[in-house]
Symmetry: C2
Subunit: 186 residues, 2 copies
């Protein structure tokens, strides 16, 4: 329990932790590397040992979210899309948003514009927002069906961010949003 050989330099994950908070709170562009470095008690250049660019820090967060979405996507595509399965997809998405990757999802949503400028992650973000409804909508679906699917997904996600002023607990808002989304989903 005394001094051990355990390296305490998980600097990389420390950087991710601080960046996640800052990026979500102040936005990606308004967060400077100097701030992140000072929060950790290191210099700017130290960050550049662990990440090639500032964008890479954001990208590393997106990748983690992408993995979860990827799982969900695989499940969606594992069987023909029925209304029951589409509603179940919304439920699983809501669970993700409230779980461990919820913070990262908030960060990604908050910094959508910044993400669009990152060539490597732009595909992931598309998966994250587009492929979900694309996977559950047949090509011959009407425009209204497609728009409804998108609004439904958006409803679940928006409950995860920026609706605290509506009152109720996080869980209440999440449940309510899920109910509305299921109602909208074709």
């Amino acid at each position: 329990m005394a001094a051990d050989t355990r390296r305490r330099t998980d600097t990389r994950s420390e950087i991710q932790r601080v960046a996640l908070t800052r990026f979500t709170q102040d936005g990606y562009d308004k967060t400077s590397l100097r701030e992140i470095a000072e929060d950790l008690g290191v210099t700017k250049a130290a960050l550049y040992y662990h990440f090639r660019t500032k964008e890479d820090i954001l990208e590393s967060l997106v990748t983690d979210v992408g993995a979860s979405i990827e799982e969900l996507l695989t499940w969606v595509q594992s069987a023909p899309s029925t209304r029951e399965r589409r509603v179940e997809m919304l439920r699983r998405l809501a669970t993700l948003a409230r779980g461990g990757v919820g913070d990262m999802m908030r960060c990604v949503q908050q910094n959508e514009v910044a993400l669009a400028a990152l060539p490597r992650t732009v595909d992931l973000v598309h998966r994250y927002k587009d492929d979900l409804w694309r996977a559950c909508m047949p090509p011959e679906a009407t425009l209204e069906d497609r728009l409804r699917a998108r609004v439904a997904i958006m409803t679940v996600l928006v409950a995860n961010r920026g609706t605290a002023d509506l009152g109720g607990t996080d869980d209440e808002r999440s449940e309510t949003a899920l109910r509305i989304a299921s109602d909208v989903m074709p």
Copy 2:
């Protein structure tokens, strides 16, 4: 019709025009003043004659949108809120989004995060997104009613941006979104 005394130095509105395009396309933070200046064939410093800061350029765009929303808000508050009036509000909002201020609304939505950092405009943006539903929802409305109102407004606005991949013409998408939004609105 020949040469007249009309000053062709509407540089101020030219700056706004170019900035509107750039801010919407590349995002506020990724757009540099040098780019805007070069597009217009002037120097950076010239921009500073017409606008005190870069933020002021964005703010000038927001203010124009704010005026339109303000009108709509006044109408909403001019009579007790019935469902018919709430649906009519959505219709008017959709009309705004397709009309002359549509481009500015897209720009404002795109740069929501950047806007949040501008002290003077943060109130306007809140009006723009929050006060609309607040004005049409009685305080004793249920959480679901309030969330539904917000989703309805969001649906109309989102049709104005980033749904081109769903197919159909702009008008078709706008009409369809309005139908869905009316359906969701309590």
